[in-house]
């Protein structure tokens, strides 16, 4: 690696008297170790038909039960999805829903009723689902200040919150940024047979968010006080750590269609119960044509209703079993004894021309 340096010094090194040279010569001999000679004990697994078939069978018999279990769990989940964005706009405004939602005068309250198809065991989770809402847009995602949310001392740390960082008179907005500013502000009130159902907001946010990311000494300040009102307003006497709706909202969703936890109903809902929901339809999804849905769902061990996982597992398990059988048939029909030298290229092609493919 070093043609010039070596020439002067490597040569010079040989100049010592003979015994020393002999010693050095001896020391130049590489020491034997299994590592340096690349002879470390190794396991060299090869794909024998046995291994191939059994691994496919193994995948099959592991996956199909998992698939069945999750499909079963998913089937048990009761889910009510109710779209209300259009229905909650009075017929007169149907042609200009944007005007309806942006107007301060219109009555935003809307009452919807629907049947509970199956018994829903408590807790029944209430979600709102938005559509075509790019909560994962880079401009949106970046527009927040974790420091400010966490402690009062960093209240003025709003540099990353552009364009919703400070008010016109340069005092910091708490919480700043587009995410907080566009906080969802529809509300739902539930009643069965005119009895109000309590909506619990307990534990709908991650505990770690409440305890460590949203400070208990940080209170909303200058929030939604600018010319442009985004979404919900916050009660400035409640510290951020208690503003669970904000906390949930600020966990940005991965996809433009997303659900967020609104609360939970902590009583069982019997089948065929008529559920009345009073919706305050405040949030503007009309300008970008987003749907709004109210979702009531129970959960199982795999979470909400999701047949895909079960189907995918069953399909893959089935495919594996199919492959196992195909390989088995192939090995029976056209067996190749393992380590049979007749399959070596020089035996397959005795002309001496090698064919490796």
């Amino acid at each position: 690696m070093d043609p010039n340096g070596g020439s002067s010094s490597a040569g010079a090194a040989d100049g010592a008297s003979d015994p020393a040279a002999a010693r050095r010569r001896h020391s130049k001999k590489p020491k034997y170790s299994r590592f340096t000679q690349q002879e470390l004990p190794a396991c060299k697994p090869i794909l024998t038909p046995g291994w191939v078939i059994s691994s496919f069978i193994f995948v099959g018999i592991i996956f199909i039960p998992i698939g069945l279990a999750s499909l079963f769990a998913s089937e048990r989940v009761v889910e009510i999805v109710h779209r209300y964005d259009t229905d909650c706009v009075p017929a007169s405004y149907r042609n200009d829903m944007l005007a309806y939602i942006q107007s301060n005068e219109t009555n935003k309250t809307c009452t919807r009723t629907f049947l509970v198809p199956k018994q829903m065991k408590s807790p029944v989770y209430i979600y709102y689902q938005l559509d075509n809402f790019y909560q994962n847009h880079r401009r949106y995602v970046k527009s927040r200040s974790d420091k400010q949310l966490r402690s009062r001392a960093s209240e003025n740390d709003t540099s990353s919150c552009d364009p919703e960082d400070v008010t016109a008179n340069k005092s910091a907005i708490v919480p700043c940024g587009l995410i907080a500013w566009s906080l969802f502000n529809d509300t739902y009130g539930f009643s069965v047979n005119n009895t109000l159902l309590g909506v619990s907001k307990k534990n709908i946010a991650w505990k770690s968010d409440q305890q460590h990311k949203f400070g208990s000494d940080v209170y909303p300040k200058n929030f939604q006080s600018g010319g442009l009102i985004g979404g919900a307003k916050l009660n400035s006497s409640i510290p951020l750590s208690q503003q669970v709706d904000l906390i949930v909202w600020m966990r940005t969703a991965a996809l433009p269609t997303f659900r967020k936890l609104y609360g939970k109903i902590e009583v069982d809902l019997e089948a065929n119960t008529e559920l009345t929901v009073v919706i305050e339809n405040n949030y503007n999804t009309y300008s970008f044509g987003g749907k709004k849905k109210l979702v009531l769902s129970t959960t199982s061990w795999i979470g909400g209703k999701n047949d895909f996982l079960g189907i995918a597992y069953i399909t893959l398990g089935g495919l594996s079993l199919f492959l196992a059988i195909s390989f088995l048939l192939i090995y029976i029909i056209k067996p190749r004894p393992l380590g049979d030298p007749t399959f070596l290229s020089w035996n397959r092609n005795p002309a001496g021309h090698f064919n490796f493919n």
């Binding site: 070093d2 043609p3 010039n4 340096g5 020439s7 002067s8 040569g11 010079a12 100049g15 130049k28 001999k29 590489p30 034997y32 340096t36 690349q38 470390l40 060299k44 697994p45 090869i46 790019y134 994962n136 847009h137 401009r139 995602v141 974790d146 552009d162 587009l178 500013w181 534990n203 709908i204 770690s208 442009l228 985004g230 966990r251 969703a253 991965a254 996809l255 433009p256 269609t257 997303f258 503007n284 300008s287 970008f288 959960t299 979470g303 996982l309 995918a312 893959l316 390989f327 090995y331 056209k334 190749r336 393992l338 380590g339 030298p341 070596l344 020089w346 021309h353 490796f356 493919n357």
Partner: protein, 1238 residues
Amino acid sequence: MTRGRIRAKLRQSHLYTFTCFRQGTADAEAPHSFDGPGFSRIVYCNQPQVHSKKPLYYTSNNISTTKYNIITFLPKAIFEQFRRVANLYFLLAAILSLTPVAPFSAVSMIAPLAFVVGLSMAKEALEDWRRFIQDMKVNTRKASIHKGNGVFGFKPWQRIRVGDVVKVEKDQFFPADLLLLSSSYDDGICYVETMNLDGETNLKVKRSLEVTLPLDDDGTFNDFRATIKCEDPNPSLYTFVGNFEYERQVYPLDPSQILLRDSKLRNTAFVYGVVIFTGHDSKVMQNATQSPSKRSRIERKMDQIIYILFTLLVVISLISSIGFAVKTKYQMPDWWYLQPNNTTNLYNPKKPALSGIFHLVTALILYGYLIPISLYVSIEVVKVLQATFINQDIHMYDEETGNTAQARTSNLNEELGQVDTILSDKTGTLTCNQMDFLKCSIAGSAYGSGSSEVELAAAKQMAIDLEEQGNELSNFPMHKNSTGDSWNNTSALGATEIELETVVTSKDEKEHKHVIKGFSFEDIRLMGGNWSKEPNADVIELFLRILAVCHTAIPERNEEIGGFNYEAESPDEGSFLVAAREFGFEFCKRTHTSVHVRERYVSSGQPVEREYQILNLLEFTSKRKRMSVIVRDEDGQIFLLCKGADSIIFDRLAKNGRMYEEATTRHLNEYGESGLRTLALAYKKLEESEYSAWNSEFMKAKTSIGPDRDAMLERVSDAMERELILVGATAVEDKLQKGVPQCIDKLAQAGLKLWVLTGDKMETAINIGFACSLLRQGMKQICITVNPDVQTQDGKENLLLFTTDQAVKENILMQITNNSQMIKLEKDPHAAFALIIDGKTLEHALADDMKHQFLGLAVDCASVICCRVSPKQKALVTRLVKEGTGKTTLAIGDGANDVGMIQEADIGVGISGVEGMQAVMASDFSIAQFRFLERLLVVHGHWCYKRIAQMICYFFYKNIAFGLTLFYFEAFTGFSGQSVYDDWYMLLFNVILTSLPVISLGVFEQDVSSEVCLQFPALYQQGPRNLFFDWYRIFGWMGNGLYTSLIIFFLNIIIFYDQAFRSAGQTADMSAVGTTMFTCIICAVNCQIALTMSHFTWIQHLFVWGSITTWYIFLLLYGMTSPLFSGTAYQILVEALAPAPMYWCATLLVIVTCNLPYLVHISFQRSFNPMDHHIIQEIKYYRKDVEDQYMWTRERSKARQETKIGFSARVDAKIRQLRGKLQKKQSPTATNVQTPLS
């Protein structure tokens, strides 16, 4: 010391031709007159203090071969790093990441780059540090310097200054370029070994000016003052021009007074010298050049892949920026939550084009994960480790020289696995360059019953062939009855294998038998003094006397055994002296005017020391091809003793000197056939008057000055070397190196072609060709030579040089086309051709208009031997093969004359034997013996090729798999440039989480063990055929990456779509989806590499499974850090993901789905289209090789490329021949006999 004392105070100046010039030349030769540029150096001897200030300040003797120093390291090393396009791209990305354009935080761009560049730089720094330490060792070496007042003291080398007087003792290196002032010999000569400069091992003589001879004692330097005016520092080792001004006289200086740094004082007790050039001014340092940097084929292809990926990167960036512009223009105005009216140019719906351009930059950074940032650094790490394994290989360690194999550059390891053609030097590479006196022909009778290796090999082969025949015949009846007749064929082959091995072992035994180096003569007629009883005893005596007297060697007393060793210029000469010693003519002493020979067995029986006065010495040159001495014996008779090439000597014989010509010629031919080197010996008696007349002529010629001096000398010498009387001829064996025929055989079986390029004459080259089985009987030899007829004819008839040249050319072209035609028309598939061409013809054949025809012919021939080629032609042939065939070439050689070829070839291998360092210094790999080439190529080359190929494919796979998921996610974010992963995950992806497994793949993977590689040379062909790095495979892996990315992304997206992902009702936010996806990627790519590997040591297990574990540990620890640091990933594993069965289910599903197609592919391939290494793995796995050793041996001997050279080819040819005969006999009776072998 003792040796020095013996020779001290001798005047030897008459011994060497050039010293004779001195007589009367001191005044005849005028000092050089020069001034002007190039000759400005002035040195004030013994006044070094003068040189400590300008303008006479010269560079210090401190040498530094380092590339950097503390200050320049950072800028220079960084500059070097960013000359790589990929690194430059990442640098730009890192700089841009500081702007708001960047999709990631700056740290996640800068940290991996810093890591990767830092690692490369650390490697550079380490290498440079080693160089620095080496330099320091040299710089602090002590030398004895005149300190004033005639006192000498020791000083480190680096403090030696120009003008210092230095005393160098025996076996020490010269610390700088010195002017020789005086030596321990009173005629001021000294012997110098220049091995480190030009690789020549023989000693060279230097002599001082006559005027400085009295300065031979420490004290005399007290008031020594002189001035040297000389040339400026330059790299020419063999020239020096200068004047020496001493005591108001000016004397000219020439190279014979200059002692060069790094050469070594030998056989001289001490010398005094004055320093002229120090440090980097010295000739050796001026000579240091970097060898050209070479890149392997795989790496060049890898660059193409990187370009493909760059294109892909640009394409998807364009797609996403166009998508972004469209979205921004038409949809973003409706997205009130982004405040589209209050935005920067990055997201301005009013200026979608501008935003789109900004986004293009963002996208180029974001998708940068398609280009593996750590690829270069990982490959570098892997190659260094591979090189370490090559260096450490105990099987390539040579006990005799104590040299290991050395990968001098690590970037060609994988190229070793793809070699197609080997171009080999002969002397010192195939042969030992150690001559053994084996036979002689004296007075027309041949002596010496020992047999050369060629004869031995031939005899062995005969024995084998006979045995084969026996086997075949005895087997035949059974053969006819047995059902599976392939058995018998293979038994014959099995036997061959065993025989081959016995040849090897028996040769080893033979080597141990030799006690006397250079002498393996066996003939009692001459041994032990018996020669005196031979009929021609007087001629024999003369013969031996010529051996003992006509040479330029120096005897060295060997204290241990009491005899003499000889320092000879050529090994031939050494072997002659050893032979003469064994026959009783022990050359024991050389003085400046005479040679002393201790002669035993002369009638009296007592050793008598005779003195031969050397009158003149006519040196050997490659042009003259002879040397002569003119001696006066004790009786006062003058003889001219001459030895030289037979053709030259025969031309110069007197009419009465041709008595033995016929017999000797016959013997010479016999010797030639057995692969021996021959020289003819002759003498002539001179009359006193005749001699003195000639001598005065000779002296005149010598002292003359001018361009025609050499021609004059040549003419005068020529006049003397005539009318000779032939005495006899010698035959020495140029011994083949150990294991060469076997190695050639194996290499041929591995499908490699071997070309021999040698400076030797055609006959010798052909002999050696036979000795190493490159040629065999029955091979059609195509000799392309300049047809002498054409030349002479044209020479007579047409004196125009041009026409002659043209005719010669046409003639050669005709020979080439005729022979090509002949090969094409050849029907027999087993016919083998050998091309033999000499240097003169090659000159024409390498011309632009003919070289392709020549190459075409050469490629069709099984072996090619080029003789009488110059170093330049060697390089040209190498280039022709390299560029003409487009295949990988490997050049192997040991001497300075091979440097051109070594540097030209794709891979240069130097033999680190006795011939010095030049070839090794220029080479990429050095091995101690030719036979290690087999292991270097077939084991290390094969492994390294597969490792690097697999590693690169996997690298691209994993980065495509990861990079594309970013792109898909983009489409779901309105192409806004948001990444789904945390910055830290991405940062760790290339650097930590996937790098170690791939490095362990690159360093430790073995498809089959080293023994199997050697036993099945055909496996090597996987490399030259490039089965593991062809586009099919590369695109296969890229496709696999694409598939993996699709599966990872879409399965996760669908699974985590909108519903709750855990029983507590929470939905998955971006960090949960991102983390799950990333988990899937890490697990999938690491499982993939586990499927790719076929060799798991604990290291692979640790790295592969450790990487997955590291990811979870990282996630755990990262989640525990402050939320300000970890952001959305805070507590993600503990709180959100780990308790959710969905997370684990999704991971499992994705991993299995990703790897299933590959598993199916390899299962299917192994079942129906197994490659050779698969089957061998299976045989080994089921230990079938142990159970069925017969099958194993059979397959081993079958596992070779169809080869037309080597031992095995000989055997094959023989078997075919016998089989043909048998078939003829049997075919009428037994029709069912098959010949499966053919």
